[in-house]
Symmetry: none
Subunit: 184 residues, 4 copies
DNA sequence: CACTAATCGAGACGGTACGTCCGGTCTTGCC
DNA sequence: GGCAAGACCGGACGTACCGTCTCGATTAGTG
């Protein structure tokens, strides 16, 4: 009955927003500029995303693929994969942006849910890996999957965002060995 | 040789900023208001802190005490203390503010240093605890202190800021046990 | 096609500006106050007049009526009218403001045009009076209208703004007699 | 008894102020910059000139020589000299600055006196020329010196500052002839 | 030779206007 | 109803100037 929204605008806006966001950060994304650059009215943007944060989330989410649950048969290898996957995911989004999202989430419950949905899959993958291992080997390995997952993703997050130290494959592997107790 | 800055203004501004910041959050802190409330010219505020973030950091830093390195003789107890201490430190500053600081740090190297100085002491305490234990018991426990510390503070940070789940004493204890391998 | 500017705001702003300007002078006209008084956002004011001077010019121009070309049949009487009319026009705008406009014009060609348009009509009236007289009486009076006009308006301007001495009807009359040579 | 002021500072400040003033105008003259450029404390400047306007006046005055009263024996020639001298005096100071001074004078009586002292000598010279002529030729020429002077300097001022048209020797001569009635 | 009083450099300070920037809402007229 | 265009509100931001002030360090001349 009514005129449908222009789907091309959606795509173009997302693309343009992504570019600005990743290259120049949260503050550099300005609805007014965005609209002008895409050749669209500001109202058209606001009709789709009621708030800057909503747009940002969409951008970020659309850039994140599924988080796979690796299964090589070796728990340590799988967890290392998860850690490195998360590292890549953050890198894809920029250290700055990842932090900005968490900050924004802290004052907007609506956003919090969506931001959590962005990073929790990585933790979920870690949990899945550990639980699957536990399920396979009858003799329980006695690892609390939730705790191990927290330690893993927490350490990754910390090094990337709080400390600022990087995180390479070697560190990831050692981290996993320490967390699972394989080292002992 | 020149007229010295008014130290009272420093204190009054910091105090007023702290109050606003913790009670009403980052956005509520407005230089203009702050100056008026303290009875000082806006320029006087800008002379001390070129940016809101600089002021916020100062406020936060001045509100953080030393991070103690507990020593009960029991590594797990000590690490649990560290975790809970960090939790309190973040709470004292507000979840939102802690996240905002990390975000701001991501785009300002100058700030990054100061923000790191805010949280790294907790990690350092964890490292110290583990290393001390290793030094005492000759039969090496074979724990990589750095890794354990990362897992610990990382998990705390994650639960408080990324996940948004809380963190109580019970969780902290279980986390430590998992990280040090005491569970096994 | 887009939302039109609110014409009422234009009028209200001009009126309020005029009041402030004439009662309290150039410096007292502050965009922020003006906006607040009219109940309009500051941006709305800046959208209309990019600069204080632009606004002032508009105010002044809107307060200046047509400059009539008097025609009593007597050249001296007519010129005296022109001189007194100009005096009133300056008084209506304040000595200070008139001078400030000329000063501002000296560094902004855009403004210069508009300021010139404010005062030149008086000179034009003088020119018209003299030329009309010349056209009527065949026996040429041999007065250069342009020169006479310059002398007239120049003298008026000088006494009002540079010297600061006033200018009454008697002086105006004597001035005209001297300029037209009626005295001789 | 007390330490005397440094005379070199006076000179250096005046020179530097003059340069800025003539090249970039009234607003470009900033005490803070001036002091830094000359290598002097701001207080040193304020000790000499309590206000920006006071300094400006000094600069302008120091750049103006005596206004001579020409005496070639021919009134018209002499008056033309006066007009051209005034033109040069204004040019030496910049059209903008001359206007700005008059504007500033309009809101500061103290300044008004000094600004008047800047330009009135030209008018005085014109008066002197005419009166001297009247005194010489017994058969009174019947010119009101004051009026003639007003017409002359007024016209010059008008063309230079209000109209913006220039003023060359030819115009000056014609102006004088018209004002003295020599044309008739 | 000490004392006194003004000068000087440096820069903090109060006060205030400026013009800009953004987020988000609203209005108008066309499709 | 979607859309382009852009006006509008509200409010923070950081900068700029003016003129005053407070330090501590120099200078003269005076007693």
């Amino acid at each position: 009955m009514a005129r449908p929204r222009n789907a091309e605008s959606d795509a173009a806006l997302l693309a343009a927003a992504a570019e600005t966001l990743l290259d120049h950060g949260y503050d550099a994304l300005v609805f007014d500029d965005l609209a002008r650059r895409v050749g669209v009215a500001k109202t058209t943007v606001y009709r789709r995303w009621p708030t800057k944060n909503h747009l940002v989330i969409d951008v970020v989410a659309s850039g994140q693929g599924e988080v796979p649950v690796p299964d090589t048969g070796d728990v340590d290898d799988d967890l290392t994969s998860v850690a490195l996957g998360m590292t890549r995911a953050i890198a894809a989004v920029t250290r700055r942006l990842a932090a900005e999202l968490v900050a924004a989430a802290a004052s907007d419950p609506d956003l919090a849910v969506r931001v959590a949905g962005l990073w929790s899959p990585h933790r979920a993958a870690a949990v899945a890996v550990v639980e699957r291992a536990a399920a396979r080997r009858r003799p329980t390995v006695d690892l609390d999957a939730e705790l191990v997952a927290d330690q893993l993703v927490g350490a990754v997050w910390w090094r990337l965002l709080v400390d600022g130290d990087g995180l390479d494959e070697d560190y990831a592997r050692r981290l996993v060995r320490s967390a699972t107790g394989s080292a002992r």
